[in-house]
Amino acid sequence: MSKTVKDAIETIPTDEINSISLSLVRSEILTKVIEYCKKHNSAQMSDVDLMDWDVEFANVHYTTLFDLVLSANYMNINCLLDLVCGKIADMIKGKTPGEIAKLFDIKDVSTYEEDN
């Protein structure tokens, strides 16, 4: 499911593989990512149940969401990336820029200039 891992496996000769380095991913986040991949690969749950599971899975604090986004981006797991980006987008929807900056603790809020 991870294109990064797949590419690594395909490029390194098989007898040299002992471990694949994922230096940017913390272990707690990697655990969650593995949980997601296992669930989606198992094909045990129906589509509807899997969607419900995804909703629960993404129901975490925004710092975890950001970590998941970074990991999914780095490991190139498109479905997880879509799920988490969608969740963050839901949190942004309907809020003013000020509210968004406050919610995500964004410091670099420059004054709103130019066109638009």
Partner: protein, 419 residues
Amino acid sequence: MENLPVEVIGNILSHLESARDVVIASSTCKKWREAWRCHLHTLSFNSCDWPIYHELSSNSLEILITQTIFQTKALRCLTISMDDVHEFSAASVIAWLMYTRDTLRRLHFYVRTPPMFNIIEKCGRQKLEVLALGRNFITRVEPSYQKFPCLKSLSLSFVSISELDLCLLLAACPRLETLSMVSPVIASSDSQASMEISSSSLKEFSVESFGLDKFVLEADLLEHLHLKDCTFEVFELIGKGTLKVLKVDDVSVIHLDIGENADNLEFVDISNFTIMWPKFYHMISKASKLRRLRLWGVVFEDDDEVVDLETISVCFPQLSHLSLSYDLRDGVLNYGLQGLSLLVNVAVLELGWTSINDLFATWVAGLLERCPNLTKLIIYGFVSEVKIHEECQILAKFTEFIIELGRKYMHVKIEFEYE
């Protein structure tokens, strides 16, 4: 948040879709503005998103859309869907299409345009993968230079096109997998009101709200066929027996022909239809791989006809999901439950009543007996607003009966859905 690369922010903003939400969110900080300008891939102008869209004139709306689109750089998916009030000028639409031509993969365009404006000519044909049009005119297709080499999905809603142009358009899409038509306005050259289209790559075809004397579809790779709210005298599918899913909903057709090989059928869903059982049975009887069968709100042409479980269990040994709802008649009910063979693989049973009575209860019990490995039973019912005392009594009696059944079949989860 500081660690997120700007492309990822662009991805997040793209999930907002609605242009207004994106523009507002993008003004949060400098990084987000950059993300919106350079990395936004999906943008949507949908009249459902913002009430102000209804209040603006078509002209002002065109300017607003132009200003917004022209600030982005890498749009891959653009949706413009406005109510019937608006009509956009050719010049504006051409400007948007030209601007996004190099990156656009998906275009959803549901807005009225002037009758002589041919959108097929103007959209970026080389990279487009999904094209959905609504309320437009396709006046001319030139197959020699208008090709859509990457187009996988084409959807036409309330679009005016001639039969010839539709055939040419399909020929211009060598990789087309999904074709969907809703209320097409087809001008035919002959007066016979018949149409024949073909596509060697098509996997899914659906048509809704359409009527014709004869419709012939030639598609060797077709897997999904979906007809809804249509009237045909003849509907014929010419293929190589690859059909997996057949859905017919509220259709009036005298002769439905899906070819001799129904061997690969996995899901058959027929609703609001008049079935001639022998003909229907002949059509699907060889579908030994069938997993789901749904006959809902169907009427049998012959009063004596009924769906008998013996035939179903013999013909469809792999059936795992059975949904039935039709008028039960006293004389034929027992005939339908006759026989001894069991539906061993059926795990989900959905039964609906049109009018609650003892027959239905008997039928439910009979079916439960024949499905030894059932895990879920869903009862669908219709409860009228004004209930007379007698109806309440019948409903109460039925509820008691189901509770008893529930005790007998403890491994089955029973659910109710009442309208």
